[in-house]
Assembly symmetry: C2
Homo-oligomer: 183 residues x 2
């Protein structure tokens, strides 16, 4: 899939952070002209749609500095180097919610912002949940509050824009679709 | 929604580009400790799920330098300063596809990468399409190829990972849900 390929002429690394790298690339466009692309490199992430044995959705509320507010999301976290996404999904679920699961199934993967970032999210469905007595510690700079809601309550959180991110919106629509298909 | 608020102690602007700004913020965490947040500021974007009068989905294939490949997406574009999202949606639809529409309805908005970016996408449903004879010019560094596909063909493009981004995945699942609800 190289249609309209933009060949890199030069790459300037502007910033190498703990989470993201910013680079500006000089590219040759398909018509031979030159252009510049501002690119964020990201390690990728997992997100977990976890359903309790009562069919409730496990959500976490956390402050998102980029948005200057807290939002309610499905549990998620960045891929660690050399760690397969399912391992990350199980670890993040346990760290953020205390749940371990019997079944962890990949539902979908998607690039979140292909216009400027290579972040990919692997979205998993976790079922057969058991709450561990001793919880793993979340990252030391991570503060999250656990919620368990019905689909109807999640739809209300979306209307109120307390749920407001792409992966959680996709996951809730996935449940709406499954419900519509089985009714 | 300020739960677990992280107060800004200092902001360092690292890069101010044509599309994005990168800043690193020193924050005070809820437990009083300090942390750093790498934040991308983005103007926001629109995306348009446009349905032809035959019920086909209008898609564009374009090269995404961040991914180093081309992918197939619903038409989309960045918000211009002072421009309301519906105006942007109509302009981007016309620039990228040549279509004008009678009805443009906001389906959903979502933050794409709340962990590091404030990019929001306003997703519209466009119906009542008419192809203009004289097309607006896309941005001069933008090369796109138009496709019109059925829902089944779009599902196949997702399986093949030619469609692979969050907004388009959400839009296709939206159509799957509408179909399931009316069958």
């Amino acid at each position: 899939m190289k249609k309209f390929e933009e060949k890199t002429v030069d790459t300037e690394i502007i910033f190498e952070g703990k989470v993201i790298r910013l680079q500006v690339e000089d590219v040759e466009l398909p018509d031979g002209k030159r252009g510049k692309r501002e690119i964020i490199k990201h390690p990728g992430a997992v997100a977990v749609l976890a359903l309790t044995n009562e069919g409730k959705i496990v959500l976490v509320e956390q402050y998102r500095k980029a948005l200057e507010r807290s939002i309610v999301e499905i549990p998620a976290g960045k891929l660690e180097k050399g760690e397969g996404p399912e391992v990350t999904a199980r670890r993040e679920l346990e760290e953020e919610t205390g749940y371990v699961c019997q079944s962890m199934k990949l539902l979908q993967s998607f690039y979140t912002s292909p216009g400027f970032a290579d972040e990919i999210v692997y979205l998993y469905l976790a079922e057969g949940l058991t709450q561990k007595e001793e919880r793993l510690q979340p990252d030391e700079d991570e503060f999250v509050e656990l919620m368990e809601v019905t689909l109807e309550e999640a739809e209300k959180l979306m209307e109120e824009q307390r749920i407001w991110d792409a992966k959680t919106a996709y996951a809730i629509q996935y449940l709406q679709l499954q419900k519509a298909l089985t009714e």
